[in-house]
């Protein structure tokens, strides 16, 4: 579990920074954009009037060329290096936004996993597709964007072969297995955490532990389908049971009662088409079909337990180091 993208504002007051390592890219009326080259670029915006710089980008991509994994030590070393090159102290900079997430191996395909994560209360849901394939979902409110996406696809399509080999060798990525990235993008940390966050604070062990637990909490806000137990006998899966399985799965997510909806619908059909006896017969068949469907306590696509185990392990490792 680690930090990824970050945006920091550093107020310079009377100080200035070194531009020796910066490559000027564009000049705008209020600011100049520079690139700082590493494995991937970071953006450094300089606003002379406001006497501030903004550093934006993914530190793992800048340092390692990928965001599969980056340690606390990587971040520390990366910012020590940046501070040395820019001749400033970014640790006292204010964090405007950042991402914290993890990559988790999952037992089913990424597409299937994403299909079964439906919505999160109080958040706008959005899907990302490549052709017909679902590649990601995002749930967003005013201060937070929670993203889940097919990370294997990104690794295979966006990273060069050498980096893919590094990830396999160093972090155990297996291209035959399935991985999902769960990421919380804090758009307004000052609103989410009720106060400005400085980089030094963000990198503290206590804050990192809090972020891990918050990631789990945010993930658990997502409502999942996949709670039904598929009948084991072929005879129990007729053309009538399949739509009912779907209805039952959506019951909890959308807060309705499938049987009541069906009953209400039947009532709206005029008696000259369906007599009361016909209605009773239809309802009886539907109830028989509903009896074949049983619900498990948790969705089979819910990876909360895996995340909990990962958090425990990460906290333990952090404490013994």
């Amino acid at each position: 579990m680690n930090l990824d993208y970050i945006e920091i504002t550093k107020f310079l007051n009377k100080d200035s920074i070194s531009f020796q390592y910066l490559e000027r890219n564009a000049i705008y009326p209020n600011a100049t954009r520079y690139y700082f080259n590493g494995c991937n670029k970071l953006e450094v915006w300089h606003n002379e009037n406001l006497k501030q710089i903004n550093v934006k980008g993914s530190i793992p991509y800048f340092l390692n060329g990928h965001n599969f994994y980056s340690s606390y030590e990587d971040w520390k070393e990366g910012f020590d290096y940046l501070n040395g090159c820019l001749q400033t102290n970014l640790y006292t900079g204010i964090v405007n936004s950042f991402e914290f997430g993890t990559i988790q191996e999952i037992p089913c395909s990424e597409n299937e996993f994403l299909h079964n994560h439906i919505k999160a209360q109080g958040m706008q849901a959005r899907e990302f597709r490549k052709g017909n394939v679902l590649t990601g979902k995002q749930f967003e409110n005013s201060s937070l964007r929670l993203k889940i996406y097919d990370v294997s696809r990104n690794i295979k399509h966006k990273l060069e072969k050498g980096i893919q080999e590094d990830i396999s060798r160093l972090h155990g990525w297996n291209r035959e297995k399935h991985y999902i990235k769960i990421e919380a993008h804090y758009k307004k940390p000052e609103a989410h955490f009720q106060g400005n966050i400085h980089l030094s604070q963000l990198l503290s062990i206590e804050f990192q532990e809090g972020l891990k637990n918050d990631l789990l909490h945010q993930y658990q806000r997502i409502m999942k389908t996949g709670k039904t137990i598929i009948p084991q006998s072929k005879a129990d899966i007729n053309a009538g049971t399949i739509p009912l399985i779907i209805l039952k799965e959506l019951e909890a997510v959308f807060g309705f009662e499938a049987e009541k909806l069906i009953k209400d619908k039947l009532k709206t059909i005029p008696e000259d088409i369906l007599s009361p006896n016909d209605r009773k017969a239809r309802l009886r068949t539907i109830r028989e079909n509903l009896k074949k469907i049983t619900l498990a306590g948790n969705s089979e696509y819910d990876i909360s337990e895996m995340l909990k185990a990962k958090i425990q392990e990460a906290i333990f490792n952090h404490r013994i180091n």
């Binding site: 390592y21 590493g38 070393e77 090159c85």
Partner: protein, 153 residues
């Protein structure tokens, strides 16, 4: 630091002594517009007594021509300078220098030569890695490259 990151900070250059001169070396390989095309190699200043924990082996000095461009062009009136110090932990290298602590820049220069820098040498610049905590990683990275066993297809 990851080897891939160090690679992104690494600029290799090769210089060769101009025939008929003792200390004048010209860029023969590597990215232009980094160091001046011509640099002089040889000691001009004595080692300060305060630096007796290290052995000064030589110096490089150079000045960009007015029409030249370079990484350090604006640093010190087009002039570059670095002392070259030995590093006992990495005897495969002639030594190292830093450009230019006086201006808050910490670019590490590692010198490699097959002829004790009498005829030619390579300068491996590692941007921003001249601080003690990063220097060792640059040496390790370059040593791994220089001592890599040849592979046969």
């Amino acid at each position: 630091m990851n080897a891939r990151f160090i690679e992104s900070c690494h600029i290799p250059l090769a210089y060769e002594r101009k025939e008929g001169t003792k200390t004048s070396y010209y860029l023969t390989m590597g990215k232009p517009e980094v160091l001046p095309t011509r640099i002089s190699f040889g000691s001009y200043a004595q080692q300060k007594s305060s630096k007796n924990d290290e052995t000064k082996k030589s110096e490089i000095n150079g000045q960009y021509r007015k029409e030249e461009k370079g990484l350090y062009f604006n640093l010190n009136n087009r002039k570059i300078h670095s002392s070259i110090w030995g590093n006992a932990e990495y005897p495969e290298f002639y030594g190292y220098g830093i450009i230019d602590e006086r201006f808050g820049i910490y670019d590490l220069l590692i010198f490699y030569s097959e002829n004790e820098c009498n005829q030619s040498f390579e300068i491996h610049i590692f941007k921003g890695m001249g601080k003690p905590e990063l220097m060792k990683q640059a040496f390790q990275y370059l040593s791994a490259i220089k001592t890599r066993k040849p592979t046969f297809a």
